[in-house]
């Protein structure tokens, strides 16, 4: 009888402990910037929305702002754990190498390195990566830009006579892109944007100008200005400031034909007539799922990547300068992406070195480049499946790093 009572008591205690654990979700959020920077703001809004959805109290979230990608990140993670956090999120790629150190030391705490790429390879079951399929939204933003370009050409607002340097020797219309760094993440993004644009206007050529910084208003503005001076009509971007849209607006007002596609946030307040739209991430989708699973004690996948299917990506409100019929076209393209009839990296729509791709092996191995040794051994996958390059399926972080014909990088 004593044994039975002891057993019952133990079970009850366990139940209490489990329910207490589930209710006691406390999240540490390590951010590379603060609310003044679009990329971080989008994460903050996503986390706040998810917390509101699930009724988390303010005291259940510890914020660490402006955390550089160095030892500070590790310290911040440990400090959060010290304050009772059992889930630590970091939002910048470079935080990953410091998050993994903390993850090794604290197996009871779950770590999510957003946009990271080696969680699945570490063999740690408390270390995760997540990213959206933002390339889908970039493709759609390219369609928006293509519609505008088609309208400009049709109405004659843009012609070789009016703005001769906007056309190259082969008669292609020049477009530009302000990129942060020459990594797969950026390459994948600008290629999707370019393919979306080219699905509307076939004869275009794109130049990519790198700033070597994720957030630098002046450099991004200068890069956009340089591209427009060369004749680029559309300026896309994968950098986090409002520099490029602001510069485009200024030059549009000065009489150039040029329009901007932003990133992360609605650029209309910055560039009311130059901004067409911005591809964005709906981070609340992921964070809601993550918090729910944490509360229910469910398994969290090492890699999470969703796109339009789960409403994890979107484009912001169309600007007043957008061509007529853009909204309908956008709805049509998004529907096609959702039902799978449209693949962003359809191999029949692009060539690499003049040839159509039939095979694209991608190696997931993470290198330690300083010593040229393997940091994390990964498998090699064939990315061309059913005639299209499969992006963000073998891991959440993008790995499309092919340079397709029609795009020139300036370094």
């Amino acid at each position: 009888m004593k044994k039975f009572i002891a057993l019952v008591l133990a079970c009850v205690l366990c139940l209490f402990a489990c329910s207490a654990l589930a209710a006691d979700l406390k999240v540490g959020v390590i951010l590379v910037g603060d609310e003044t920077e679009g990329y971080t703001l989008a994460h903050m809004n996503g986390i706040k929305a998810a917390a509101a959805n699930l009724g988390l109290a303010d005291s259940q979230i510890v914020w660490k702002y402006k955390t550089p990608e160095d030892q500070t990140c590790y310290d911040a993670a440990l400090d959060c754990i010290g304050q009772g956090c059992n889930l630590i999120i970091s939002n910048s790629y470079g935080h990953q190498t410091y998050m993994v150190l903390a993850a090794e030391e604290y197996p009871d705490v779950t770590f999510v390195a957003m946009t990271g790429d080696f969680a699945a390879l570490t063999g740690l079951d408390n270390f995760k990566n997540a990213f959206t399929k933002v390339f889908e939204a970039r493709y759609v933003s390219g369609v928006v830009a293509g519609m505008k370009l088609a309208e400009l050409l049709e109405t004659g607002a843009l012609s070789p006579e009016k703005q001769p340097n906007s056309f190259d020797a082969d008669g292609n219309v020049k477009i530009g892109y302000v990129g942060a760094f020459d990594y797969a993440e950026v390459v994948s993004g600008y290629t999707a944007f370019f393919l979306g644009l080219r699905s509307i206007v076939p004869n275009v050529a794109m130049e990519v100008n790198y700033t070597n910084s994720w957030f630098d208003i002046d450099k991004e503005a200068a890069a956009a200005e340089a591209l427009i001076a060369k004749g680029c009509v559309i300026i896309g971007q994968h950098a986090d400031s409002t520099g490029a849209p602001a510069a485009t607006q200024k030059l549009l007002d000065a009489g150039n034909v040029c329009y901007s596609v932003g990133y992360n946030v609605d650029m209309l307040p910055t560039a009311p007539t130059a901004a067409l739209t911005s591809p964005t991430n709906e981070w609340s989708v992921f964070y809601t799922e993550l918090f729910t699973k944490m509360q229910n004690g469910e398994e969290i996948a090492a890699d999470w990547a969703e796109g339009f299917d789960a409403d994890a990506v979107a484009i912001t409100e169309l600007g007043s300068s957008c061509a007529a019929g853009t909204a309908e076209k956008v709805a049509e393209v998004i529907a096609a992406i959702k039902d799978g009839s449209l693949k962003v990296f359809d191999a029949s729509t692009f060539t690499v070195d003049g040839a159509t791709l039939t095979s694209a092996p991608v190696d997931m191995t993470i290198m330690d480049w300083a010593t040229m040794t393997v940091a994390y051994e990964g498998e090699t996958y064939e990315a061309i499946v059913d005639g299209a390059f499969e992006e963000s399926t073998f891991r959440s972080a993008p790995y499309f790093a092919l340079r397709i014909d029609g795009i020139t990088e300036i370094k």
Partner: protein, 368 residues
């Protein structure tokens, strides 16, 4: 003509102040800082100053982990302060600690990258140490030699050397990061060259070295012949020459020592604290350490106290920013006001203000 009017206030240099006066002036300074801060906190941020002060305290003292980190950061700052002490005591304005630390760190990192895992650990540590000390010493020797032989301006020279070091580091980091977006930790997998853990932390070695150097440098400056030479050169080069001291030799020797200790700090930071390198490895401590050395009048024990105060303020400001969702400008102002009053109190320790009285006094000879 205006010379007949006595100014409202004039200042007179004090002789050596008694200890009690020094203590009193400093206490008043801290008190005034807290009052001004309270006004700022209350009127600008709308928070309760007492609660904010408690939070500030928490930045360093709320958990053992935080205290341990404060000690770690104190070690970095103090080590550089100790390295600067002989140069500044010699009145050689070595503004180049940042660069000397970076060169030591860079040499350490290079040894880790190219020899990590290829030689036994003991050899690797020794190579890292020697390379770092040599690189730092070189970065101190160059401006020292130019000053001694050609009479160049050491302030500008050492300052410029910082930029050379920063660019060298940036260049190497760019090469080593390869196709990755950042360098991350060096030898992540093999952990070659990472200091062993002592009492649970790799950086505890840094603390021990810092504590040892506090004593060694104190004795060197106070009791050794070389320390005396440094003091004489600092007071007056002509006196030193008259006394038969080879001034050029002392300058070069002292700058090699100063640079070598900075290089050693770079070695400790990379091996014990960061296990990586970036242009911010020294983190501005090369400049903050000047305040440390100067405020403490090169007494290394005082330097430890002042380093602690600076780290305490820094951690406190960070905690205030995080706890109240203030941006860090506001919290930096709070910490800055305290620092301002403490620095200001040094003025009142060295000088005495004299206010205009009704009585007619004879004024200084020179009116213009």
């Amino acid at each position: 003509m205006a010379g007949n009017h006595e100014p409202l206030m004039r200042v007179v240099k004090r002789g050596e102040s008694p200890f009690k006066l020094k203590l009193l002036v400093r206490l008043i300074a801290v008190l005034m800082a807290l009052i001004v801060d309270a006004l700022f906190i209350y009127f600008v941020t709308g928070l309760n100053p007492l609660v904010v002060y408690t939070t500030m305290f928490k930045g360093t003292f709320s958990t053992p982990m935080r205290f341990s980190w404060a000690m770690r950061d104190l070690a970095s700052l103090l080590l550089i302060g100790i390295a600067l002490a002989p140069a500044f005591k010699m009145r050689f304005w070595n503004i180049g600690a940042e660069g000397q630390v970076l060169m030591g760190a860079l040499a350490t990192a290079a040894v880790m990258v190219y020899y990590g895992g290829k030689v036994p650990n003991a050899v690797l540590y020794a190579a890292m140490l020697v390379a770092a000390v040599f690189a730092g010493a070189l970065w101190g020797f160059i401006p020292g030699w130019f000053k001694a032989r050609l009479g160049t301006n050491e302030t500008l020279f050492t300052l410029m050397m910082n930029y050379v070091a920063i660019q060298l580091v940036a260049c190497c980091v760019n090469i080593w990061r390869g196709q990755a977006s950042g360098l991350g930790k060096l030898n992540m997998k093999s952990k070659a060259g990472w200091f062993p853990q002592l009492f649970g932390q790799r950086y505890n070695i840094n603390l021990i070295v810092a504590a040892l150097l506090v004593i060694l440098m104190y004795c060197y400056l106070r009791y050794s012949k070389q320390g005396y030479e440094i003091a004489v050169v600092g007071e007056s080069e002509n006196t030193a020459r008259y006394a038969g001291i080879n001034v050029g030799k002392v300058i070069i020797r002292t700058m090699i020592l100063s640079g070598a200790l900075c290089g050693l700090t770079g070695f400790l930071i990379v091996g014990g604290r960061d296990q990586t390198i970036s242009t911010t490895t020294a983190g501005g401590n090369g400049f903050t350490a000047i305040i440390v050395a100067w405020l403490a009048k090169f007494n290394t024990f005082y330097m430890a106290l002042i380093s602690f105060l600076l780290i305490f303020l820094e951690k406190g400001a960070g905690e205030i920013a995080s706890a109240y969702n203030l941006n860090d400008f506001a919290s930096d102002i709070i910490a800055g006001i305290i620092l301002f009053f403490i620095l200001g109190s040094e003025f009142f320790i060295n000088y005495k203000p004299i206010f205009r009285t009704g009585r007619h006094e004879t004024l200084s000879k020179e009116a213009a």
